[in-house]
Structure formats: structure tokens, C-alpha cells
Point group: C2
Chain length 172, copies 2
């Protein structure tokens, strides 16, 4: 059985949906991450953070976390890297001394525009197999999944089963 046939078999198995979406995203990430890393010497979450900061001037680190589901220290490090390179500036929040408002510098905005153009090109390449109508359908369906709370708050894979506070045995 060839690798191609093995892949088809997996995409006919009981886990076909998860396997397929993982395949697509792992494959795309391998391509994208390597490019960003080599070309700009920064991890993907750094440019994601820069994207968020350019889109939403004054955004807080905590809010970036809601946009890109990554651990808190990952965002913290990405912000440090961006600041060390002069791509963003941090400004203490007037309302809350713990928070820091993040703002892109001119260099940051310029660099983001460059990475963004490359990302849009990659996006078009990746979605080229779909017609515009199919692409819209795909987007809407993925949107439904993204909008549902169980994407981030699982019941089936709840951790801490001994306390049962997140488990399936509690009241609903």
C-alpha cells in the first residue's frame, strides 16, 4: 500500500475530520513557519502579535492572547522581541498600572506590511484549489466551529479528572 493510499485510508477512518484538518494545518505551518523564521528571524507568534498591534493600536498583551490562542508567556516573549527590535513600543496604561498598551512603530508597520503581503500570497496559493464560492462556504463553516465555545472549553478532554470540576459528571 502506497503512502498515497495510506493517506486515503486515514481520511476514511473514524478520525477523518481531525486527521484531515491536522494534515492541512501542519503542512501549511511547516511551510509558513520555516519561511517567516528564515526570512525575518522571528517565531510566527511574533508576527501574529505585530499583526494584532497594527490592527488594534493600544491593544494589551492579554487581548492578543484571546486573538491567538497561545500560552501567556509566549505572547510576553513575542512582545519583548518586537520591542527589542524597535518594531513596537510599550506605554503604561493610564487606567491600570499593570497593563501596557502596545503600539507599532513606523518600522513595525512597514515590516508588517511586507510579511502581510507574503501571507496573503500564501493564502491565495493555499486556497487556490477552491472556487470563490467554495472558499466562502469553507470560511463560513470554519467560522461556525470557531464561534462555538467547545473549541476552547472542552468537556470530552477536560483535564483534572480527579476533582471532576470540569469533567462530564457534574451538573450541566
Amino acid at each position: 500500500m502506497s503512502c498515497r493510499n495510506k493517506l486515503d485510508t486515514i481520511f476514511r477512518s473514524d478520525l477523518r475530520d481531525l486527521m484531515l484538518i491536522s494534515y492541512v494545518v501542519l503542512g501549511n505551518n511547516a511551510v509558513t513557519n520555516r519561511y517567516i523564521e528564515r526570512t525575518y528571524r522571528m517565531p510566527v507568534q511574533a508576527w501574529s502579535a505585530l499583526f494584532a498591534i497594527v490592527m488594534f493600536p493600544g491593544i494589551k498583551a492579554k487581548e492578543i492572547r484571546a486573538l491567538f490562542p497561545r500560552p501567556q508567556n509566549t505572547i510576553s516573549r513575542a512582545v519583548s522581541l518586537l520591542e527589542a527590535r524597535g518594531l513596537i513600543e510599550q506605554r503604561a496604561s493610564a487606567a491600570d498600572g499593570r497593563e501596557k498598551e502596545l503600539l507599532a512603530t513606523a518600522e513595525g508597520a512597514s515590516l508588517l506590511a511586507e510579511i502581510r503581503a507574503a501571507s496573503v500570497a500564501r493564502q491565495e496559493e493555499l486556497f487556490a484549489p477552491l472556487t470563490p464560492a467554495e472558499r466562502e462556504t469553507f470560511f463560513e463553516l470554519a467560522r461556525k466551529i470557531a464561534a462555538s465555545p467547545q473549541l476552547l472549553e472542552t468537556r470530552t478532554m477536560a483535564i483534572d479528572p480527579e476533582s471532576g470540576k470540569d469533567g462530564g459528571s457534574g451538573p450541566d
Copy 2:
């Protein structure tokens, strides 16, 4: 602007497709990886490899790589871990002394069945927002993307631009 509104804005931007699919998969991975890691003390690729070995007895490490787009040494380590735990066995290939045929042990098959059941449950949870017809449509569209060569072989994000051998400047 709330986090919810920020997210909506991102999903209306020029990078909405990539952002959305990344959001879904990063969010799901956070949930799934944490669970597998905590419950079974193994990285996700280890159970992916076990899945492949149970599905295709005698599979080679190289072939697993084609099923799960991960670096070669990642698969190599995952196989070592599975063997160290007695979940699989390696058998030298008769045809090629470099290759090793991988076979699950009874414990391996049993553990996989357990993880697999949890994964199917998670899959159903994740795709619950879609109707069966929508889910089928989503699968078919993702399938198209997975089947196209540009998923793994990019032209827009080709590395090694100085040699130009994969770059966009060459003949098409």
C-alpha cells in the same frame, strides 16, 4: 473594542482565511495536546505514530512522515518512545536493512483504542456546530486543499531565495 469585536475584525481582514483556520486549529491543539500530554505522558506525535502503526502494521518511519507532516527526527523520537514503553516493536526489514518495520504490541493496540475513543469524542464535540451535511461539505473542501501539491510545496514562500531555484523568478 472588545476582544470579541477584535476577533470579528480579524476575520474580516485580508488574511481572514488563514487567521480563521489557525484560530480553530491552535485552539483545538491547545485542548487536545494538553489532554494527551497529561493523561498519557506523551507528545501528540507519539500517539499519531501509534495510530499509523496500528492502522498499517509493518509501516516504516519514513511513511509515517508522509501521513503526518512533521520533521524526520520528531518521528524518530516518537518511535523510540513508543518502543521504550513497550507499545510497539521494531523489526528489521528483510528487503532493506536500513528500514525498520513497526508493529504495535497488544498493549500498544489497547492504549491506542483508548486514546482513539477520546479523540473521536473530541472530534464529535468540535464538529457539533455543523449539521451532518455541512460537516461533509467541510470535509470535501478541506480534502481538496489537502490533495493539492501547493499545500506542502509552496512557490510564494519558497526558501533559499539567493539561489533562486525554488523562487518565483524562475521559469514556470
